[in-house]
């Protein structure tokens, strides 16, 4: 079959496109062959004869990708029941302009595009003796209804999350940001030409060079089908082996809108209940939506708690190892003596215990993701409490270690973003190893190496730690958050065209 496969020839080379001949049968046969009709049950071919124009018209569409009702009522019905009028039957455009009540049509001149249209859910209308093919917008397929976001929940804010339909996702964004400057560009990626990514940005804010750069990267994606945004992220990123993510994956439209207003770019695709935000800084990964929705004291309070949780999650096991093994003078004598007492009965050295427990915790975490929800709570109790308690009583681990591992594990959940969560967990192991080798000295060295690395990391040209690292005017929303009416600048690092959100505040100071 391969040599006859027409797609091989028409790979991104304009000269290989098959132009519509105008001969209905010929074009129809071409299309039928392309879809392996009649083997392919999903392709529907509907022939219609329009009385008034005395023309034959053939409709092609893919079952399952189209909204049946629209086709039946707005296409077939209107074509068949068309009234005679003073219409020059030679003008094919009149069919669309005067007869069809479909909301959106496009004209194609090549059969490749027609095939793509069918795949996207459009209805292709072949008109006899016409070199134009009309693609009628009839896309409609089943998808999940809008639901609460799975991971990014807030108490005081909208509870909508993206779904798997790109159209609906875009509507969610549009509803929140009603601006004429909000632009959606559809970019085709991949080699098969059926994968479309929606690139959304604010025309009057986002930097043109950034947009160009993203588009260029998108066009360089060299895979025949990119299944979703998660896979797209991996194609697009500039440092695939790095520990740090350079794009943000969020399920919340309100976050997407907040980023849009700062000048970021959003990518949306079908089949992904999320959007990608780029470029991204450390703060984008660290902040949650809730910080903005709370009042100033509460927002800052939660932020401080999260910062502490982040530090605890990264450093606690390493610091415990460093202090007990290398610097025991730091703990009060009583505490040290009670640690010694509990460790008397434990056969393993401290680092071995710690690594064992950390691994056990990670395994439990993975297990909980796959456990059917009926058994979930039970396993939770069994795993955490009983195992931990039993291990202590059997003398395999010391109780203080259970506390440390539990605290660390729970603190890691305080980090909202999925990718960043992994970063924290992996870095924790790196710090543990360095503490094992040479105590606090090792932790310090690894920390400063990490900081230097983070500072020079760039996500699409934006330094990762801005606006803290190359310091510049910021929106006053980095470590701590200023009141909402004081955040009047857009962050500089995106070089936005319009760097002022609103006028500087007059009240207070």
């Amino acid at each position: 079959m391969w040599p006859f496969f027409p797609f091989k020839k028409s790979n991104n080379s304009p000269s290989a496109k098959t132009v519509v001949t105008g001969n209905l049968q010929k074009d129809l046969n071409y299309l039928k062959k392309a879809f392996f009709y009649p083997d392919n049950k999903d392709l529907i071919v509907r022939e219609i004869y329009i009385d008034t124009l005395e023309k034959e018209v053939v409709l092609l569409f893919m079952a399952g990708m189209v909204d049946r009702k629209v086709i039946e009522e707005h296409v077939i019905k209107t074509l068949i029941q068309a009234k005679p009028s003073n219409v020059d039957s030679k003008l094919q455009e009149d069919i669309v302009k005067r007869m069809l009540s479909i909301q959106n049509t496009t004209v194609y001149y090549t059969l490749e595009k027609a095939i793509k249209g069918v795949l996207m859910g459009k209805t292709i209308m072949l008109v006899d003796e016409s070199k134009k093919i009309f693609a009628l917008e009839t896309t409609g397929y089943e998808h999940r209804s809008i639901d609460k976001p799975e991971r990014e929940n807030v108490i005081k804010g909208p509870l909508e999350g993206f779904v798997e339909s790109s159209l609906i996702n875009r509507s969610l964004i549009r509803r929140q940001l009603k601006s004429k400057n909000l632009i959606t560009e559809g970019i085709e990626i991949g080699t098969s030409g059926i994968c479309e990514v929606s690139l959304i940005y604010m025309k009057n804010i986002a930097n043109d060079k950034l947009v160009e750069r993203v588009k260029k990267r998108l066009k360089q994606v060299n895979s025949d089908n990119v299944q979703g945004l998660s896979v797209l992220e991996q194609h697009l990123e500039e440092r695939p082996y790095s520990l740090i993510p350079t794009m943000l994956y969020t399920e919340r439209p309100d976050r997407a809108v907040a980023f849009l207003q700062e000048g970021h770019i959003i990518l949306i695709m079908d089949n992904s209940p999320a959007c990608l935000v780029l470029p991204v800084t450390f703060w984008a990964l660290f902040h949650t939506a809730e910080d903005q929705y709370m009042r100033w004291p509460y927002g800052n309070f939660t932020r401080v708690i999260r910062m502490i949780a982040l530090l605890v999650a990264m450093f606690t096991p390493a610091v415990y190892l460093a202090i007990t093994n290398f610097h025991p003078e730091m703990i009060p004598s009583e505490l040290l003596l009670s640690i010694m007492n509990t460790r008397e009965h434990v056969p393993f050295p401290a680092y071995f215990e710690l690594i064992m427990l950390e691994l056990a915790f990670e395994i439990l975490r993975e297990a909980f993701l796959r456990v059917p929800s009926l058994l979930g709570p039970t396993i939770g109790i069994v795993g955490a409490l009983v195992l931990g308690q039993a291990a202590v009583e059997a003398g395999i681990v010391s109780p203080i270690l259970i506390i440390i591992v539990a605290m660390t594990g729970l603190s890691a959940f305080a980090v909202a973003d999925i990718s960043f969560n992994f970063v924290v967990r992996i870095i924790r192991f790196i710090f543990m190893i360095s503490a094992l080798i040479i105590g606090l000295y090792g932790i310090a060295l690894v920390l400063i190496g990490l900081l230097a690395y983070l500072n020079t990391l760039k996500s699409f040209g934006v330094p990762f730690m801005s606006p803290l690292a190359p310091s510049g005017p910021s929106s006053k929303d980095t470590l701590f958050r200023w009141p909402v009416w004081k955040q009047w600048l857009r962050p500089f690092y995106l070089d936005p065209k319009d760097s002022v959100r609103k006028k500087p505040p007059k009240r207070g100071a």
């Binding site: 093994n325 290398f326 003596l337 010694m340 460790r343 008397e344 109780p399 094992l436 080798i437 105590g439």
Partner: protein
């Protein structure tokens, strides 16, 4: 990928190099108290009091787990090498990281060799600078073994808490390793170390409550250990003992405020059978004027004290009667002056150096180090003419203005 391999090999190398300083927590033997005694042939008799971790179980273990600490005494040529020798019988690595107290016997402290034996303590990186020094009347070994704190679980925590009490009562000076070496290197005054004993020799016939030294305070029950008074060290050698009262005075005569409010009794001027009880607050700095230009240095010290009248067993009305108040104030001033002058005479004649940190005031009189070092404060001090005056204010009276009027009640 080549970079990855290189990093991996490097990491492996580091891991293989071994961790020299890593020591599991339970492998350490924490020595909490060290005792130093003199032994024959220039050797030292060293006592280690090692905390026993298993003895105190916070989780409520119960059962027979042994003594809270293990006390070992042995002979060693010097302080440093003792650590390794002890490991012939102690199974964990000796660690001084949590050392709290060093006990030196009076016998050892009064020898010339003491400072030679003691100076390695300075260089040891594990010994912290705020370790307490206690001089014991008897052998340090006996002192440590007889110490039996009832309120604390471990012997060292007894001394830990005692340090706070020293600050509060001023009957014992704050004797810390840091200050010992500082005072010695300054070479301008004497150092006061805590003086203690675990043998009780009660002396009942002392007029006021603070004229005791350690061991003389009559008491029954509780921990036999008493820490009272101070041992006087000059140039690293012990030369004398001060009573509790003298220690308090010495601390009060210092330029800075080093005493917390403490309780004291003075003789009642009007009714000689009784005493009057006060709380003494030293809130302002002393005013010390020195004239060092002449051969005989002249020093004037004015000490402002604020007294709080707490108890009048004689029931005489001192508060509301201004005459009585005057009499009281004058009597106390005279009493204190007498005691202070006695102490100063003792320092000038017996010790030939002062424990009052007056050298710090003297330093301010010079512009360059050459001048100051040429002056030799310690040599000039015994010649000095010193005049002391106390400024007493009785500012508070406890809860009642007047005492009970017994006559009225008994009638």
């Amino acid at each position: 990928m080549r970079v990855c391999k290189f990093i991996f090999l490097f990491l492996l190398l580091i891991l293989l190099m071994g961790c020299w300083d890593r020591q599991e927590v339970e492998e350490r033997a924490l020595v909490m108290i060290i005792g130093l005694d003199i032994a024959e042939k220039g050797m030292l008799e060293i006592t280690y009091d090692i905390a026993n971790a298993a003895a105190v179980d916070p989780g409520g273990g119960g059962g027979d787990v042994g003594l809270p600490s293990e006390t070992i005494t042995f002979l060693a040529p010097d302080f440093v090498s003792a650590r390794d020798i002890v490991n012939s019988s102690v199974s964990r690595e000796i660690s001084f990281l949590h050392l709290r107290v060093i006990v030196v016997s009076e016998e050892l402290a009064r020898t010339e060799e003491f400072i030679h034996h003691f100076s390695p303590v300075l260089r040891d990186r594990e010994i912290r600078r705020n370790v307490e020094i206690i001089v014991s009347q008897e052998k340090a070994e006996e002192f440590i073994r007889n110490n039996n704190p009832k309120l604390e679980e471990r012997p060292y925590s007894f001394f830990e808490h005692m340090e706070s009490r020293w600050r509060e009562t001023s009957l014992t000076p704050l004797s810390i390793l840091d200050k010992f070496f500082q005072r010695m290197e300054e070479d301008a005054g004497v150092f006061l170390a805590a003086y203690a004993t675990a043998e009780v020799n009660p002396v009942i016939e002392k007029p006021t409550e603070d004229e005791y030294i350690a061991g003389e305070f009559p008491k029954l029950g509780g921990n036999p250990t008493q820490v009272l008074g101070s041992a006087v060290f000059k140039k690293g050698k012990m030369i004398g003992v001060l009573t509790g009262e003298e220690t308090r005075l010495a601390l009060a005569l210092r330029p800075d405020v080093e005493t917390d409010p403490f309780l004291v009794t003075y003789p009642d001027p009007i009714d000689e059978d009784y005493k009057v009880a006060f709380r003494v607050h030293k809130e302002q700095h002393n005013r010390i004027k020195m004239n060092l230009k002449k051969d005989v240095p002249k020093i004037n010290v004015t000490i402002p004290l604020t007294l709080e009248l707490l108890g009048v067993p004689s029931l005489i009305n001192y508060i509301e009667d201004p005459n009585n108040m005057e009499v009281l104030k004058d009597s106390i001033t005279a009493y204190l002056q007498g005691k202070a002058e006695a102490l100063i005479d003792r320092t000038q004649e017996e010790f030939m150096a002062e424990p009052f940190k007056w050298s710090q005031v003297a330093r301010r009189q010079f512009w360059t180090l050459k001048e100051y070092e040429g002056y030799h404060w310690m040599k000039s001090y015994p010649k000095a003419e010193i005049s002391i005056s106390f400024e007493i204010e009785i500012s508070e009276f406890g809860r009642q203005l007047d005492s009970l009027d017994l006559q009225k009640i008994r009638d």
